[in-house]
């Protein structure tokens, strides 16, 4: 037996949530050709099928791209500090991809090792995440190579499985998820058939459109990274990178930020903005010395951080295999093509910087 909900009832649930002055975020066509996780004005904006994934990630819900950390006011020579307002609005992230939700427990480590970031933690507590298990992937997806899956439960309060007949199976994973769906589902004999650990072997799901999901030999990648810091290929792997940072901004797990003062003569605020390790200025010292002065060093940093530095500290890759870095890259770089080349290189196969 399972619990199911009709698409109509799901939309009613979202509208009821919004009706109480709460925030809801979900995949929405914000303009022709652009699907983003965006604040929903009404449940009808929510798009639940016909795409692989939105172009951004849900991290914005817990880690806004621009956020006030504290304020200050000037009274002559006196300075007064103003505490940041604690977020209070509950929010529902609905229709998130599992590769987005899985990023949240990964980010939890960053914002809580030793020093606890209340800006992040408060938003995280106020957020309920309902994911939609994947039925399709594209050539940029590689979740199954990095310990994730089309129905990765990490970070989800509830997961929906499209049953293909206008209904969805609901599986709740937390108190928040159970509270959200309480009284809104009905029992059914239909059981979601998304128990699938790789779309290449998907059982009973809609056929994959582009063949099997790309698979990486992460053991070979790890072996390379153990000694590949000075490898001359980093230059080649970054040669066409323009340093735009689209990979980092649309990545569910990238979390680097800058902190700057904004304001004027009467006061202002310290704000944090998203930053990206692909930018020249990211590590530039005041002296002009830059430990990562060329793009190859910056590309190397991104790959090492995701697949060696973070895993050594917290046990999982800083990546859920969503493929957004490549999908949004103007020159089709990103994690997957670089790792594919690293794998070839590690196995002594000829490498070319792959074009996807």
């Amino acid at each position: 037996m399972s619990e199911i909900i009709s698409q109509a009832a799901l939309r009613q649930l979202v509208d009821a949530w919004l009706g109480q002055g709460r925030r809801a975020v979900g995949p929405a066509q914000v303009k022709p050709g652009l699907l983003l996780y965006a604040p929903l004005r009404a449940a009808e904006e929510l798009l639940l099928e016909g795409y692989v994934r939105p172009a951004n990630s849900i991290k914005e819900a817990v880690f806004p791209r621009h956020e006030k950390l504290y304020g200050f006011r000037f009274h002559g020579k006196q300075i007064e500090l103003v505490d940041a307002e604690a977020p209070t609005q509950q929010q529902l992230v609905i229709g998130a991809r599992p590769c987005d939700a899985a990023a949240l427990p990964i980010l939890d480590h960053v914002f809580n090792w030793d020093y606890k970031d209340e800006h992040y933690n408060r938003r995280r507590e106020l957020t309920t995440v309902v994911t939609l298990a994947c039925r399709e992937h594209d050539r940029h997806c590689f979740c199954t190579s990095v310990g994730s899956a089309p129905d990765d439960p990490r970070g989800s309060d509830a997961m929906l499985y499209d049953l293909g007949d206008g209904t969805l199976e609901v599986r709740t994973m937390s108190e928040k998820g159970r509270a959200l769906f309480a009284g809104r589902t009905e029992s059914s004999a239909k059981v979601g058939q998304a128990e699938c650990h790789g779309l290449s072997e998907c059982h009973g799901l809609s056929p994959c459109h582009t063949g099997p999901e790309p698979r990486l030999d992460m053991a070979a990648v790890a072996a390379f990274l153990a000694g590949g810091f000075e490898d001359p290929h980093w230059a080649a792997w970054s040669a066409r990178c323009m340093g735009c940072g689209a990979c980092a901004f649309t990545c569910p797990t990238c979390h680097c930020f800058d902190m700057v003062d904004e304001g004027g003569a009467s006061g202002g605020a310290k704000v944090r903005n998203w930053d990206a390790c692909q930018y020249t200025m990211f590590t530039m010292h005041a002296s002009g010395h830059n430990p990562r002065a060329v793009q190859g060093q910056r590309q190397r940093q991104r790959i090492y951080h995701k697949f060696r530095t973070y895993p050594e500290k917290f046990g999982t890759p800083l990546c859920t295999g969503c493929g957004n870095c490549t999908r949004n890259c103007p020159v089709r770089l990103g994690v997957l093509p670089v790792l594919q080349d690293i794998e070839s290189h590690a196995k002594n196969k000829p490498i070319t910087v792959r074009t996807l």
Partner: protein, 277 residues
């Protein structure tokens, strides 16, 4: 809501101009209770801010035994240090910290200490020097080698003589050839050469070496020749930081975050790190 990024407000107690472009600043917490419970260990750093302008990372260059104020030292280089340049007594500066690890002064007890600093790198050594002098009985012979490009570039110059006045302390100061003034009484030469000919007692010794990369590079072989192992040689790294608390993602040197797992490293640790600094 409390924020780990929110600074404490500190009153500027004193500003001293050290060189043409370096100043040191003494600060006191505006909040008495905070001043009471504030503790740090020498070698740690803080994030110092001119509110409305920005925040920068500096070592706390006062001794952790000093309770009336903390001190930092900066060179006028960029936006924040430009704003710091014009602060004056009674002004307010923001401070977050202390952050990072510290010099293992306990571990250094009973050993001969060799401090080697170049140019603006003296402040992060100075805190350890004062700490050692204030706990003089805990340490063996103390040798301080301080080099600068020219006499006018030396910071805390007036303190060199005071240090030399302590028992079992030898201060060797040097300037690069051509950097001397007619009344210069110190050595003339580059730090590595000066260290080599200074005949510093190196048995049971640890060295703290901070300075420009080129100085460090050529000083290390000299120390090795003197018999110091990679475990006996310490340095303090600087990398650009924003948060200071291991989140903003830029100061890492390979797997280690300089803000949390540094800034103090032994040469042994450093040799295991990739060249990312």
């Amino acid at each position: 809501m409390t924020s780990i990024y929110q600074p404490d407000l500190m009153e500027v107690v004193e500003v001293r101009q050290q060189t043409a472009d370096v100043k040191s600043v003494r600060l006191r917490f505006r909040d008495e209770a905070r001043a009471e419970d504030f503790h740090f260990r020498v070698g740690q750093f803080g994030m110092f801010s001119v509110l409305g302008c920005g925040e920068s990372t500096f070592n706390i260059c006062s001794s952790s035994n000093w309770k009336d104020f903390i001190e930092f030292c900066f060179r006028r280089t960029g936006k924040v240090t430009d704003a710091l340049w014009s602060i004056d007594k009674n002004d307010t500066v923001g401070f977050r910290g202390p952050y990072g690890n510290a010099y293992p002064m306990d571990k250094w007890a009973g050993k001969n200490l060799i401090f080697i600093g170049g140019g603006i790198a003296m402040p992060p050594i100075r805190c350890a020097i004062w700490y050692a002098l204030e706990n003089r009985q805990d340490f063996g012979q103390i040798t301080i080698v301080y080099g600068a490009r020219k006499v006018g570039d030396m910071v805390f110059r007036n303190e060199l003589e005071r240090w030399a006045g302590y028992e079992r302390v030898r201060v060797v100061s040097c300037v690069d050839p051509g950097g001397e003034t007619p009344d210069w009484k110190g050595e003339i030469g580059f730090v590595p050469t000066v260290v080599e000919r200074a005949e510093i007692p190196a048995d049971n010794a640890v060295a703290l070496v901070i300075g420009p990369p080129v100085m460090i590079k050529f000083t290390l072989p000299v120390l090795a020749k003197m018999g110091l192992t990679d475990r006996d040689i310490y340095t303090s790294l600087e990398n650009r930081m924003k948060c200071g608390v291991g989140k903003c993602g830029r100061c890492n040197c390979g797997p280690l975050y300089v803000c949390k797992e540094g800034p103090v490293f032994t040469l042994e640790q450093l040799k295991q790190l990739p060249n990312d600094y």
